[in-house]
Subunit: 241 residues, 2 copies
């Protein structure tokens, strides 16, 4: 099983180069990769933009809407890329199109899977560590369950600040760490917060962090931040070969 | 019908004084006010902290858990205050305890309602403009439907910044305005973004903004920011007497 799970926030040339390299690597040998744009409102426009942005990877993406049937598109796919946007919208459509089981089965059988932002959230047992607004109500929060932990994308710690003119003012909303700790008041699974630009390159039951930091949360323990190159087991503890 | 709907972020003495004044005013004459702490994990601890914080208002709060039955607590309440925390947790418990209809009916009949943050979200037709993480799955996103528009609490526009040492770095996550515009790709109801410290003092079908700014979103139109003292009708247009 091979997954590439990214945080998003690919706004700098350095981050983009890592994205191109990692994407080219996971989909090496795939003639065409099925792209799921359900997290965005404009499927066709988003697929076009993402395919153009991703061109330096050498990977050819095709919108799942352009296949005759989404289930058979997945059944026959060489690789799957699930894009970003709103995770509630994505999850709703995945359930409506009955894609949860077929994606899980194909990925477990070896089809490479790439997700960025919302696409990483849905690789988890549930979408419950998304940052997105619940703009639609999915049938269930359950998602592909490809890994036994949760991802929080666009992770950052500390408080956020707003710029007013040339001044920075603190904002008193909850920190991301507080939100994840609240998740752990009701759920047991560990959570990995991927900082912007970071990817988790996952194979079977271990993974390597690439391109950025990650902060790991186990219930009842202080969060720990890890550097690129760190290897994790499927309980999100450091993996020693 | 009388509502006081706050954004939260009450960390400055000026904001706190407005909170005490407004809270004392909406609950004037109420011997005891029922407090719903369901948005927090520790109901008793949160009620105690909030009651102490709110003491200068002169209002006496009692945890709904301390009544024999939550439905009859609402049926007999002189006033209701719904506190902040996680809106998914709050909404799940409101449905489990079958409180949606009885609260709606009592408030429409004149029982004063105060909500802050999550407690303002659930005064709306749905909780779908919350900023919170979906740490639990409620039976439905539908909430009290006391007003015909949506509230976004802790609103701010512009991008957020993170402080690293003494440096500020931009964060590339979506802005709040983008999230609300995504909500409008799937929903028609107008949204009012209450800036931290702001309250909407609502009576029947008009309201006055107090204590902070608010940014109003109508589908397909540019957002408009209004100052304290602005009066709105129930479509969130400026109300001219």
């Amino acid at each position: 099983m091979r997954l590439l799970l990214g945080s998003g926030g690919l706004r700098t040339p350095e981050r983009q180069q890592i994205y191109f390299d990692e994407m080219g690597s996971i989909f090496a040998g795939c003639e065409e990769v099925v792209f799921i744009p359900y997290a965005s409102y404009d499927h066709a426009g988003y697929t076009t933009r993402l395919a153009e942005f991703s061109a330096p990877s050498g990977v050819s993406l095709r919108n799942i809407d352009d296949y005759e049937n989404p289930i058979s598109a997945i059944e026959e796919a060489k690789g799957l890329y699930v894009g970003g946007g709103n995770t509630f919208l994505l999850t709703k459509k995945l359930h409506e199109n009955a894609l949860i089981d077929v994606v899980r089965s194909r990925v477990r059988d070896g089809m490479p899977y790439m997700g960025v932002s919302a696409g990483s959230n849905v690789a988890c047992p549930t979408m419950q560590t998304t940052n997105d607004m619940p703009i639609v109500q999915p049938a269930s929060f359950e998602t592909f369950d490809l890994i036994p932990f949760q991802i929080n994308a666009h992770y950052h710690d500390g408080n956020i600040w707003l710029k007013e003119g040339n001044q920075f003012e603190p904002h008193f909303g909850e920190t991301r760490a507080q939100r994840i700790q609240e998740f752990h008041e009701h759920n047991e699974r560990p959570v990995i917060g991927l900082w912007e630009g970071a990817f988790l390159r996952w194979q079977d039951d271990t993974g390597v962090l690439v391109g950025g930091d990650a902060t790991v949360f186990h219930p009842g323990e202080a969060p720990v931040t890890h550097l690129p190159g760190s290897e994790f087991n499927d309980e999100l503890f450091i993996h020693h070969r």
